[in-house]
Protein backbone atom coordinates (compact mmCIF):
# COMPACT_ATOMS: atom_id res chain seq x y z
CA UNK A 1 0.00 0.00 0.00
CA UNK A 2 2.40 2.69 -1.15
CA UNK A 3 1.17 5.55 -3.26
CA UNK A 4 4.05 7.97 -3.24
CA UNK A 5 3.73 9.19 -6.77
CA UNK A 6 0.08 8.88 -7.53
CA UNK A 7 -2.41 11.37 -8.87
CA UNK A 8 -3.52 12.54 -5.45
CA UNK A 9 0.01 13.50 -4.42
CA UNK A 10 0.49 15.38 -7.69
CA UNK A 11 -2.81 17.22 -7.34
CA UNK A 12 -2.13 18.29 -3.76
CA UNK A 13 1.43 19.44 -4.36
CA UNK A 14 0.84 21.10 -7.74
CA UNK A 15 -2.57 22.63 -7.16
CA UNK A 16 -2.64 22.94 -3.38
CA UNK A 17 -0.89 26.31 -3.41
CA UNK A 18 1.43 25.49 -0.52
CA UNK A 19 5.13 24.82 -0.97
CA UNK A 20 5.51 23.33 2.52
CA UNK A 21 6.31 19.65 1.90
CA UNK A 22 5.23 18.51 5.37
CA UNK A 23 1.79 20.12 5.05
CA UNK A 24 1.31 18.64 1.56
CA UNK A 25 2.25 15.22 2.95
CA UNK A 26 -0.16 15.69 5.85
CA UNK A 27 -2.96 16.63 3.42
CA UNK A 28 -2.20 13.52 1.39
CA UNK A 29 -2.14 11.25 4.43
CA UNK A 30 -5.29 12.79 5.89
CA UNK A 31 -7.19 11.86 2.73
CA UNK A 32 -5.45 8.60 1.87
CA UNK A 33 -5.38 7.10 5.36
CA UNK A 34 -8.92 8.08 6.25
CA UNK A 35 -10.25 6.61 2.99
CA UNK A 36 -8.35 3.40 3.61
CA UNK A 37 -9.49 3.18 7.22
CA UNK A 38 -13.12 3.77 6.27
CA UNK A 39 -12.92 1.13 3.55
CA UNK A 40 -11.36 -1.25 6.11
CA UNK A 41 -8.05 -1.60 4.31
CA UNK A 42 -5.88 0.06 6.96
CA UNK A 43 -6.13 0.05 10.72
CA UNK A 44 -6.83 3.12 12.83
CA UNK A 45 -6.62 3.31 16.63
CA UNK A 46 -9.08 2.25 19.30
CA UNK A 47 -9.05 0.95 22.84
CA UNK A 48 -6.51 -1.87 22.77
CA UNK A 49 -7.80 -3.80 25.75
CA UNK A 50 -11.40 -4.27 24.76
CA UNK A 51 -11.08 -4.81 21.02
CA UNK A 52 -7.81 -6.65 20.48
CA UNK A 53 -6.33 -8.15 23.65
CA UNK A 54 -3.79 -9.93 21.40
CA UNK A 55 -1.75 -6.88 20.42
CA UNK A 56 0.85 -7.08 23.14
CA UNK A 57 1.55 -7.47 26.89
CA UNK A 58 -1.01 -4.86 27.85
CA UNK A 59 -1.26 -5.88 31.51
CA UNK A 60 2.51 -5.64 31.99
CA UNK A 61 2.58 -2.19 30.43
CA UNK A 62 -0.33 -1.02 32.55
CA UNK A 63 0.92 -2.41 35.85
CA UNK A 64 4.65 -1.90 35.48
CA UNK A 65 4.66 1.39 33.66
CA UNK A 66 1.42 3.37 33.61
CA UNK A 67 0.39 2.61 37.18
CA UNK A 68 3.91 3.29 38.47
CA UNK A 69 3.86 6.77 36.93
CA UNK A 70 0.20 7.16 37.98
CA UNK A 71 -0.90 7.75 34.40
CA UNK A 72 -4.23 7.04 32.77
CA UNK A 73 -4.17 3.25 32.17
CA UNK A 74 -5.81 3.42 28.75
CA UNK A 75 -3.78 2.03 25.86
CA UNK A 76 -4.71 2.67 22.24
CA UNK A 77 -3.91 0.05 19.64
CA UNK A 78 -4.37 -0.49 15.92
CA UNK A 79 -7.69 -1.97 14.84
CA UNK A 80 -9.68 -2.34 11.68
CA UNK A 81 -12.79 -0.22 11.70
CA UNK A 82 -15.97 -2.20 11.18
CA UNK A 83 -19.50 -0.98 10.55
CA UNK A 84 -20.94 0.63 13.65
CA UNK A 85 -17.55 1.53 15.13
CA UNK A 86 -15.46 4.66 15.53
CA UNK A 87 -11.69 4.98 15.60
CA UNK A 88 -8.98 7.62 15.71
CA UNK A 89 -5.89 8.67 13.77
CA UNK A 90 -3.28 11.04 15.11
CA UNK A 91 -2.16 13.41 12.36
CA UNK A 92 0.40 15.04 14.64
CA UNK A 93 2.08 11.69 15.26
CA UNK A 94 1.92 10.72 11.61
CA UNK A 95 3.48 13.95 10.34
CA UNK A 96 5.02 15.69 13.38
CA UNK A 97 6.88 18.25 11.29
CA UNK A 98 3.60 19.59 9.86
CA UNK A 99 2.36 20.55 13.31
CA UNK A 100 5.46 21.69 15.16
CA UNK A 101 4.18 25.23 15.47
CA UNK A 102 0.62 26.48 15.76
CA UNK A 103 -1.19 23.21 15.09
CA UNK A 104 -4.54 24.89 14.56
CA UNK A 105 -3.18 27.12 11.79
CA UNK A 106 -1.34 24.16 10.27
CA UNK A 107 -4.53 22.12 10.13
CA UNK A 108 -6.34 25.05 8.54
CA UNK A 109 -3.60 25.29 5.91
CA UNK A 110 -3.94 21.58 5.22
CA UNK A 111 -7.67 22.05 4.60
CA UNK A 112 -6.79 24.89 2.22
CA UNK A 113 -4.43 22.63 0.27
CA UNK A 114 -7.19 20.05 -0.12
CA UNK A 115 -9.77 22.68 -1.03
CA UNK A 116 -7.56 24.35 -3.66
CA UNK A 117 -6.56 21.01 -5.18
CA UNK A 118 -10.21 19.93 -5.37
CA UNK A 119 -11.23 23.25 -6.97
CA UNK A 120 -8.41 23.05 -9.50
CA UNK A 121 -9.38 19.49 -10.40
CA UNK A 122 -13.01 20.56 -10.91
CA UNK A 123 -11.92 23.54 -13.00
CA UNK A 124 -9.76 21.31 -15.20
CA UNK A 125 -12.44 18.63 -15.30
CA UNK A 126 -9.96 16.04 -14.04
CA UNK A 127 -11.10 13.18 -11.80
CA UNK A 128 -8.63 12.71 -8.94
CA UNK A 129 -9.30 9.67 -6.73
CA UNK A 130 -9.44 10.94 -3.18
CA UNK A 131 -10.68 14.42 -4.10
CA UNK A 132 -13.89 13.51 -5.89
CA UNK A 133 -16.09 12.72 -2.91
CA UNK A 134 -14.90 15.02 -0.17
CA UNK A 135 -18.39 15.69 1.30
CA UNK A 136 -18.91 11.93 1.72
CA UNK A 137 -15.52 11.49 3.32
CA UNK A 138 -15.63 14.52 5.60
CA UNK A 139 -19.12 13.67 6.81
CA UNK A 140 -17.42 10.78 8.63
CA UNK A 141 -14.57 12.83 10.10
CA UNK A 142 -14.33 14.98 13.22
CA UNK A 143 -11.24 16.90 14.21
CA UNK A 144 -9.60 17.72 17.49
CA UNK A 145 -6.74 20.16 17.80
CA UNK A 146 -4.91 21.70 20.71
CA UNK A 147 -4.87 25.43 20.41
CA UNK A 148 -3.47 28.28 22.40
CA UNK A 149 -5.59 30.83 20.63
CA UNK A 150 -9.26 30.18 21.16
CA UNK A 151 -9.13 29.55 24.88
CA UNK A 152 -12.37 28.72 26.56
CA UNK A 153 -13.31 28.01 30.13
CA UNK A 154 -13.15 24.48 31.44
CA UNK A 155 -10.86 21.51 31.81
CA UNK A 156 -10.43 21.20 28.06
CA UNK A 157 -10.53 24.92 27.36
CA UNK A 158 -7.59 24.95 24.97
CA UNK A 159 -8.94 22.16 22.80
CA UNK A 160 -11.04 22.67 19.68
CA UNK A 161 -13.31 19.93 18.39
CA UNK A 162 -15.13 20.47 15.13
CA UNK A 163 -16.35 19.05 11.86
CA UNK A 164 -15.91 20.67 8.47
CA UNK A 165 -18.31 21.26 5.65
CA UNK A 166 -16.78 20.86 2.23
CA UNK A 167 -19.98 20.65 0.22
CA UNK A 168 -19.29 23.97 -1.54
CA UNK A 169 -16.34 24.35 -3.88
CA UNK A 170 -14.54 27.60 -4.65
CA UNK A 171 -14.67 28.84 -1.06
CA UNK A 172 -10.88 28.57 -0.56
CA UNK A 173 -11.25 26.64 2.66
CA UNK A 174 -13.84 24.61 4.52
CA UNK A 175 -16.27 26.20 6.98
CA UNK A 176 -16.04 24.63 10.44
CA UNK A 177 -18.73 23.82 12.91
CA UNK A 178 -17.75 23.33 16.53
CA UNK A 179 -18.94 20.18 18.22
CA UNK A 180 -18.93 19.44 21.96
CA UNK A 181 -15.77 17.74 23.12
CA UNK A 182 -17.88 14.86 24.45
CA UNK A 183 -19.25 14.30 20.93
CA UNK A 184 -15.72 13.96 19.59
CA UNK A 185 -14.84 11.18 22.02
CA UNK A 186 -18.13 9.31 22.28
CA UNK A 187 -18.78 6.41 22.42
CA UNK A 188 -15.13 5.44 23.07
CA UNK A 189 -14.65 7.63 26.12
CA UNK A 190 -17.34 8.61 28.60
CA UNK A 191 -18.01 12.26 29.34
CA UNK A 192 -16.54 11.89 32.82
CA UNK A 193 -13.40 10.15 31.61
CA UNK A 194 -12.18 12.12 28.62
CA UNK A 195 -8.54 11.94 27.51
CA UNK A 196 -6.33 14.57 29.16
CA UNK A 197 -6.20 17.89 27.32
CA UNK A 198 -2.45 17.52 26.75
CA UNK A 199 -2.71 13.98 25.29
CA UNK A 200 0.07 13.51 22.73
CA UNK A 201 -2.02 11.19 20.61
CA UNK A 202 -4.88 13.69 20.35
CA UNK A 203 -2.78 16.82 19.77
CA UNK A 204 -4.08 16.95 16.19
CA UNK A 205 -6.35 13.98 15.67
CA UNK A 206 -9.26 12.73 13.60
CA UNK A 207 -12.20 10.66 14.65
CA UNK A 208 -13.37 8.29 11.92
CA UNK A 209 -16.96 7.22 12.15
CA UNK A 210 -18.54 4.17 10.56
CA UNK A 211 -21.74 4.25 12.55
CA UNK A 212 -24.02 5.14 9.64
CA UNK A 213 -23.92 3.60 6.23
CA UNK A 214 -22.60 6.07 3.70
CA UNK A 215 -20.93 4.70 0.63
CA UNK A 216 -17.17 5.37 0.78
CA UNK A 217 -15.42 4.36 -2.42
CA UNK A 218 -12.22 2.31 -2.11
CA UNK A 219 -8.91 3.69 -3.32
Amino acid sequence: MRYNDDQLTDALTEWGGDSNAARCKAAYLLLRYSLQVLSQRRPCFGLADSIHPNLGPLDTLKEELLQVARLNPTILGPMYLHAGQVGFLSLSQLVPSAFEQSPEDSLENIFKIISRARDAAVKRNVAVPGLDNLPGLFSRLRFRVRTGRQRQKGRHGSVLTFKVDCSQSGAGTFPRRSIPIEAFYEPTFSAVNLPPSDSRFFRVAMKLDLRESINIPEY
Binding site: M1, A22, R42, P43, F45, A48, H52, N54, L55, G56, P57, L58, T60, L61, E64, L65, L66, V68, A69, R70, L71, N72, T74, I75, L76, G77, P78, M79, Y80, S90, Q93, L94, V95, P96, S97, P195, P196, D198, S199, R200, F201
Partner: protein, 215 residues
Protein backbone atom coordinates in the same frame (compact mmCIF):
# COMPACT_ATOMS: atom_id res chain seq x y z
CA UNK B 1 13.20 -22.63 16.74
CA UNK B 2 11.91 -26.12 17.33
CA UNK B 3 11.56 -28.73 14.61
CA UNK B 4 8.21 -30.52 14.65
CA UNK B 5 7.29 -33.53 12.57
CA UNK B 6 3.88 -33.59 10.93
CA UNK B 7 2.26 -35.64 13.67
CA UNK B 8 3.37 -33.13 16.30
CA UNK B 9 2.41 -30.11 14.23
CA UNK B 10 -0.93 -31.37 12.97
CA UNK B 11 -2.66 -30.79 16.30
CA UNK B 12 -1.41 -27.20 16.41
CA UNK B 13 -2.56 -26.62 12.84
CA UNK B 14 -5.92 -28.27 13.43
CA UNK B 15 -6.54 -25.98 16.40
CA UNK B 16 -6.31 -22.86 14.22
CA UNK B 17 -7.37 -24.15 10.78
CA UNK B 18 -8.91 -27.62 10.55
CA UNK B 19 -9.36 -27.37 6.77
CA UNK B 20 -5.68 -26.61 6.20
CA UNK B 21 -4.72 -29.53 8.45
CA UNK B 22 -6.91 -31.89 6.43
CA UNK B 23 -5.32 -30.74 3.16
CA UNK B 24 -1.79 -31.12 4.53
CA UNK B 25 -2.69 -34.51 5.89
CA UNK B 26 -3.75 -35.64 2.41
CA UNK B 27 -0.41 -34.48 0.96
CA UNK B 28 1.51 -36.19 3.75
CA UNK B 29 -0.39 -39.48 3.31
CA UNK B 30 0.45 -39.57 -0.41
CA UNK B 31 4.13 -38.76 0.09
CA UNK B 32 6.67 -41.63 -0.18
CA UNK B 33 7.60 -42.97 3.27
CA UNK B 34 11.20 -41.84 2.79
CA UNK B 35 10.08 -38.26 2.19
CA UNK B 36 7.60 -38.01 5.04
CA UNK B 37 10.24 -37.19 7.64
CA UNK B 38 11.25 -34.12 5.60
CA UNK B 39 7.68 -32.85 5.59
CA UNK B 40 8.22 -31.04 8.85
CA UNK B 41 7.69 -27.63 10.42
CA UNK B 42 9.70 -25.19 12.49
CA UNK B 43 7.99 -23.48 15.40
CA UNK B 44 9.23 -19.95 16.00
CA UNK B 45 8.25 -17.99 19.09
CA UNK B 46 8.72 -14.26 18.52
CA UNK B 47 8.80 -12.19 21.73
CA UNK B 48 6.87 -8.92 21.79
CA UNK B 49 8.34 -6.26 19.45
CA UNK B 50 10.84 -8.65 17.84
CA UNK B 51 10.94 -8.40 14.09
CA UNK B 52 9.63 -11.22 11.92
CA UNK B 53 10.65 -9.21 8.85
CA UNK B 54 12.87 -6.18 8.82
CA UNK B 55 13.02 -4.22 5.56
CA UNK B 56 11.89 -7.32 3.68
CA UNK B 57 14.40 -9.71 5.29
CA UNK B 58 12.96 -12.66 7.18
CA UNK B 59 14.37 -13.01 10.69
CA UNK B 60 14.45 -15.75 13.30
CA UNK B 61 13.22 -14.91 16.82
CA UNK B 62 16.81 -14.20 17.93
CA UNK B 63 17.12 -11.48 15.28
CA UNK B 64 19.43 -13.48 13.01
CA UNK B 65 18.47 -14.15 9.37
CA UNK B 66 16.02 -17.01 8.99
CA UNK B 67 17.61 -20.28 7.82
CA UNK B 68 18.01 -20.29 4.04
CA UNK B 69 16.16 -23.58 3.59
CA UNK B 70 12.98 -21.97 4.97
CA UNK B 71 12.97 -19.27 2.29
CA UNK B 72 10.68 -20.99 -0.15
CA UNK B 73 8.98 -18.08 -1.90
CA UNK B 74 11.92 -16.18 -3.30
CA UNK B 75 13.51 -14.75 -0.19
CA UNK B 76 10.45 -15.34 1.99
CA UNK B 77 9.21 -18.19 4.17
CA UNK B 78 5.65 -19.52 4.35
CA UNK B 79 4.32 -19.63 7.90
CA UNK B 80 1.06 -20.05 9.76
CA UNK B 81 0.30 -17.64 12.63
CA UNK B 82 -0.79 -19.76 15.58
CA UNK B 83 -1.80 -17.09 18.09
CA UNK B 84 -1.73 -13.39 18.98
CA UNK B 85 -0.82 -11.05 16.14
CA UNK B 86 1.79 -9.54 13.84
CA UNK B 87 1.85 -5.89 12.86
CA UNK B 88 2.98 -4.67 9.44
CA UNK B 89 4.65 -1.33 9.96
CA UNK B 90 5.12 1.54 7.60
CA UNK B 91 8.44 3.11 8.48
CA UNK B 92 8.34 6.76 7.57
CA UNK B 93 11.39 8.94 8.04
CA UNK B 94 10.66 12.59 8.73
CA UNK B 95 13.31 15.02 9.91
CA UNK B 96 15.63 12.09 10.63
CA UNK B 97 13.00 10.62 12.95
CA UNK B 98 11.69 7.14 12.18
CA UNK B 99 7.93 6.95 12.58
CA UNK B 100 6.43 3.49 12.78
CA UNK B 101 2.80 3.50 11.75
CA UNK B 102 0.64 0.38 11.43
CA UNK B 103 -0.24 -0.60 7.91
CA UNK B 104 -1.92 -3.94 8.52
CA UNK B 105 -2.53 -6.52 11.24
CA UNK B 106 -2.14 -10.26 10.80
CA UNK B 107 -3.94 -12.59 13.17
CA UNK B 108 -4.13 -16.22 14.15
CA UNK B 109 -4.75 -18.67 11.24
CA UNK B 110 -3.41 -16.27 8.59
CA UNK B 111 -0.59 -17.49 6.38
CA UNK B 112 2.41 -15.27 5.73
CA UNK B 113 4.26 -15.62 2.43
CA UNK B 114 1.31 -17.29 0.70
CA UNK B 115 0.80 -14.75 -2.09
CA UNK B 116 4.54 -14.59 -2.69
CA UNK B 117 4.58 -18.39 -2.94
CA UNK B 118 1.75 -18.33 -5.49
CA UNK B 119 3.63 -15.67 -7.49
CA UNK B 120 6.73 -17.84 -7.33
CA UNK B 121 4.89 -20.95 -8.49
CA UNK B 122 3.22 -19.05 -11.34
CA UNK B 123 6.55 -17.45 -12.22
CA UNK B 124 4.95 -14.01 -12.23
CA UNK B 125 7.24 -11.46 -13.82
CA UNK B 126 8.00 -8.01 -12.42
CA UNK B 127 7.27 -8.87 -8.83
CA UNK B 128 7.90 -5.95 -6.44
CA UNK B 129 10.88 -6.08 -4.12
CA UNK B 130 9.53 -6.90 -0.67
CA UNK B 131 10.49 -4.35 1.94
CA UNK B 132 8.01 -5.01 4.71
CA UNK B 133 8.77 -4.62 8.35
CA UNK B 134 6.65 -6.90 10.50
CA UNK B 135 6.81 -7.23 14.27
CA UNK B 136 5.44 -9.56 16.90
CA UNK B 137 2.51 -7.71 18.49
CA UNK B 138 1.98 -4.03 17.97
CA UNK B 139 4.97 -1.72 18.20
CA UNK B 140 2.53 1.11 17.55
CA UNK B 141 0.65 0.93 20.84
CA UNK B 142 -0.10 4.42 22.18
CA UNK B 143 -0.54 5.43 25.79
CA UNK B 144 -3.40 7.83 26.33
CA UNK B 145 -1.16 9.67 28.75
CA UNK B 146 2.64 9.74 28.49
CA UNK B 147 5.09 10.55 31.32
CA UNK B 148 6.16 13.79 29.64
CA UNK B 149 5.86 15.86 32.82
CA UNK B 150 8.78 15.79 35.22
CA UNK B 151 6.72 14.64 38.21
CA UNK B 152 5.43 11.62 36.29
CA UNK B 153 8.83 10.82 34.83
CA UNK B 154 10.33 10.94 38.32
CA UNK B 155 7.78 8.43 39.61
CA UNK B 156 9.03 6.02 36.98
CA UNK B 157 12.62 6.85 37.80
CA UNK B 158 12.01 6.17 41.48
CA UNK B 159 11.19 2.57 40.52
CA UNK B 160 13.57 2.19 37.57
CA UNK B 161 16.79 3.82 38.80
CA UNK B 162 18.71 3.52 35.56
CA UNK B 163 16.34 5.88 33.73
CA UNK B 164 18.01 9.17 32.89
CA UNK B 165 17.04 12.38 34.64
CA UNK B 166 14.11 14.23 33.14
CA UNK B 167 14.99 16.20 30.05
CA UNK B 168 11.93 17.83 28.54
CA UNK B 169 12.97 17.75 24.89
CA UNK B 170 14.33 14.20 25.03
CA UNK B 171 11.21 12.85 26.73
CA UNK B 172 9.00 14.63 24.20
CA UNK B 173 10.73 12.81 21.36
CA UNK B 174 10.35 9.40 23.01
CA UNK B 175 7.80 7.05 21.59
CA UNK B 176 5.99 4.39 23.59
CA UNK B 177 8.14 1.64 22.12
CA UNK B 178 11.31 3.57 23.03
CA UNK B 179 10.17 3.89 26.63
CA UNK B 180 9.31 0.19 26.88
CA UNK B 181 12.71 -0.79 25.50
CA UNK B 182 14.52 1.72 27.73
CA UNK B 183 13.28 0.12 30.94
CA UNK B 184 14.99 -3.27 30.96
CA UNK B 185 12.70 -4.72 33.66
CA UNK B 186 9.59 -3.96 31.57
CA UNK B 187 11.31 -4.91 28.35
CA UNK B 188 12.28 -8.33 29.72
CA UNK B 189 8.87 -9.00 31.24
CA UNK B 190 7.01 -7.91 28.12
CA UNK B 191 9.05 -10.34 26.04
CA UNK B 192 7.38 -13.26 27.82
CA UNK B 193 4.46 -12.39 25.54
CA UNK B 194 5.07 -14.15 22.22
CA UNK B 195 3.51 -14.71 18.82
CA UNK B 196 4.04 -18.22 17.49
CA UNK B 197 4.61 -18.82 13.79
CA UNK B 198 4.81 -22.30 12.29
CA UNK B 199 7.09 -22.34 9.26
CA UNK B 200 6.75 -24.96 6.54
CA UNK B 201 9.90 -26.79 5.47
CA UNK B 202 10.81 -26.42 1.79
CA UNK B 203 10.07 -30.14 1.28
CA UNK B 204 6.35 -29.45 1.56
CA UNK B 205 6.37 -27.40 -1.62
CA UNK B 206 8.64 -29.80 -3.51
CA UNK B 207 6.32 -32.67 -2.57
CA UNK B 208 3.23 -30.68 -3.47
CA UNK B 209 4.69 -29.93 -6.89
CA UNK B 210 5.57 -33.61 -7.36
CA UNK B 211 2.04 -34.73 -6.50
CA UNK B 212 0.46 -32.11 -8.76
CA UNK B 213 2.73 -33.16 -11.63
CA UNK B 214 1.65 -36.78 -11.19
CA UNK B 215 -2.04 -35.96 -11.63
Amino acid sequence: MRRLDFKEASELIKAVDAELEALLSAVWDQAPKACQRDLCFFLARYPYTHFVFKDGKALAPDGKPLAQDLLVAGRLPVGLILDNSLEVIDEIIRNEEVIEFPQALLFKNQLIGLWELIDEQLQVEGRPTRNETISSGSRSLKFLEFPTQEVKWNRLRARYRHLSTHHKESVRKLKEIDLIEMISEIDQKSKQWVTQVLYFSASWFAELQRQLAER
